[in-house]
Every structure is written in structure tokens, then in C-alpha cells.
């Protein structure tokens, strides 16, 4: 009889009959880290060398695009300024004569 009881204790599942809320341990660790003022910095190892290369390439492309756009605007503005300057040097009568005169052959 007693042996049976011994076997019962030893054969009983040693698994604990308790559970915890879902994600409890992840949340608990975060809570403690917050209490001690620990902020996880993103590890530099997360960024692989190819990511640095890609970022540099995209940076160069963006800078090239900006430079091209600014340069194009300046060229157009210079041409417009030159035309305005030439016209300002000629009086209205001369201009009228120029437009109505017969082309010289």
C-alpha cells in the first residue's frame, strides 16, 4: 500500500500546473528596463556594409538631381535676363521700324 503511494509521488507529472499571461516575460523585462532607465540603442551591427553603400549611392543620386535642377533653372534665367537687357537698350520707335521694315535682299 505504502509502496504504491511512493510510486504515485514519483510517477506524478512534475510539470507545474501554472500558466502566465501571454508575452508576460517579454513585457516584464521591458518594464524592468524602463524602471532602471535602460534604453536599448540600435546595434551598429544591424546595419550591414551593403546598407551603407546603398545609402551613399542614393545620397549621390539625390544630390546630382538637385544640382542638375538648380543649374537648369539658372541657365534659363540667364537667357531671359539677356533678352530683357537687349530690349531695354533699344527705343520703341527703332523696334517698330525693325518689325515693319522690309527684309533687305
Amino acid at each position: 500500500m505504502k509502496n504504491n503511494k511512493n510510486i504515485l509521488i514519483e510517477e506524478m507529472s512534475k510539470e507545474l500546473p501554472f500558466t502566465v499571461p501571454e508575452n508576460y516575460f517579454d513585457q516584464f523585462a521591458l518594464q524592468i528596463e524602463e524602471q532602471i532607465g535602460f534604453k536599448k540603442s540600435i546595434s551598429r551591427k544591424v546595419f550591414k556594409p551593403w546598407m551603407y553603400m546603398a545609402a551613399m549611392f542614393i545620397g549621390v543620386l539625390i544630390m546630382g538631381q538637385v544640382f542638375y535642377t538648380v543649374n537648369k533653372n539658372n541657365t534659363t534665367r540667364n537667357a531671359e535676363n539677356y533678352e530683357t537687357y537687349v530690349l531695354s537698350q533699344v527705343d520703341e520707335n527703332s523696334l517698330a521700324d525693325y518689325y515693319v521694315s522690309e527684309p533687305a535682299n
Binding site: 512534475k14 501554472f18 516584464f28
Partner: protein, 181 residues
């Protein structure tokens, strides 16, 4: 991150790396300590409170930790002391006897949403609750965790011989409980 004990202890002494090293030990030991506490206080809510106190005590004492014992032994000691203090305070607050506190723990366990045991598992918990607190600790650490007596000696400060005797008598008492019930 796999840091050795020596590396961890070294980082404890450096103010700018202390929190990071502590985060490592929280994530490494939280589950083991939680179950160590939970087996004693039974309810999840109480175990959560005691575990928080344990880690905050450890954090406050981190600067003074010199690595004289293993980190796990040190943490288990704090968790054990916090658990026993919690149970003593509970008893004092309710001004009830040990038996009444144990009965209260059992009632809480039955009502706990995070208990999903069978009838036999509940009966085992009832039997364990008939043991004195320190014997209950010894029984749980040996029976459920299969911890070595040497490790238990380092945590509880009780000799291996006394621990073996305590466990032996705990098993006898539980067997007797099953016979009588």
C-alpha cells in the same frame, strides 16, 4: 548576447554599462526566478510583485556585487528572501496563523485564472502547503527543479546533510497526506 559571468561582473562596476548588463541578467534569469517564487506564493499576481521586488533589490545592490558567488545564486538568494518576507508580511497584515495563510493561498490558487492543474496536481499543491515554509522551499527546489543539494546549500545557507533530511521528511509527509486523504 552571451556574456560570461566575469564579463557581467566587470560591467556591473562600470556605470555606463551597468544597465545593459542588468538587462542581460533580467532576461536570462527572470523565468527561473519567477517559477521559484510562484511555487511558493502560488498566485500569478503575487509572483509578479515579488519578482519585481527581487530585481529592484538586485539592481540597487548591483554596484556592491563583487562576484563572490555566482550571479544565479545571488539572485536566487534575493528571490528567496523576498518571497519569505512577502509571506511573513501577508501573515502579519491579515493577523492570521500560518495555517490560515496557507488556506488563503490555496483558495487564491483555485480562483487564479493562471492555474490549469488537474485534480491530482491541485491535491499535490495542497499537500505541499502543509509543509513549513522552508521545507516547502527545499521540496520545490528538489522535486520540481531537480536542483543539486550543493546549489541549494549555496542559496539557502543550509548544509547538504540538513537539506537531504528536510527533503526526505517532506516526501514522507506528502505521502502520508495522500494516504490519509
Amino acid at each position: 548576447m552571451n556574456l560570461t559571468e566575469e564579463e557581467l561582473v566587470h560591467q556591473f562596476s562600470q556605470p555606463n554599462r551597468r544597465a545593459g548588463a542588468f538587462s542581460v541578467i533580467v532576461r536570462t534569469y527572470q523565468e527561473r526566478l519567477y517559477w521559484h517564487i510562484r511555487k511558493m506564493v502560488l498566485s500569478h499576481e503575487d509572483a509578479n510583485d515579488v519578482l519585481q521586488n527581487t530585481f529592484m533589490k538586485a539592481w540597487n545592490g548591483l554596484e556592491g556585487f563583487r562576484g563572490d558567488s555566482q550571479v544565479s545564486t545571488w539572485l536566487y538568494r534575493i528571490a528567496t528572501n523576498e518571497t519569505l518576507t512577502f509571506l511573513t508580511n501577508k501573515r502579519m497584515r491579515s493577523q492570521s496563523s500560518i495555517d490560515e495563510v496557507e488556506e488563503g493561498l490555496l483558495q487564491n490558487l483555485k480562483a487564479d485564472n493562471y492555474f490549469n492543474g488537474t485534480e491530482i496536481q491541485l491535491k499535490l499543491q495542497q499537500a505541499i502547503l502543509t509543509l513549513p515554509e522552508k521545507q516547502r522551499l527545499v521540496f520545490n527546489m528538489k522535486y520540481f527543479d531537480d536542483m543539486t543539494y550543493e546549489k541549494m546549500e549555496a542559496i539557502l545557507g543550509t548544509s547538504v546533510g540538513a537539506l537531504k533530511a528536510s527533503y526526505h521528511y517532506a516526501v514522507k509527509k506528502i505521502e502520508k497526506y495522500f494516504e490519509e486523504e
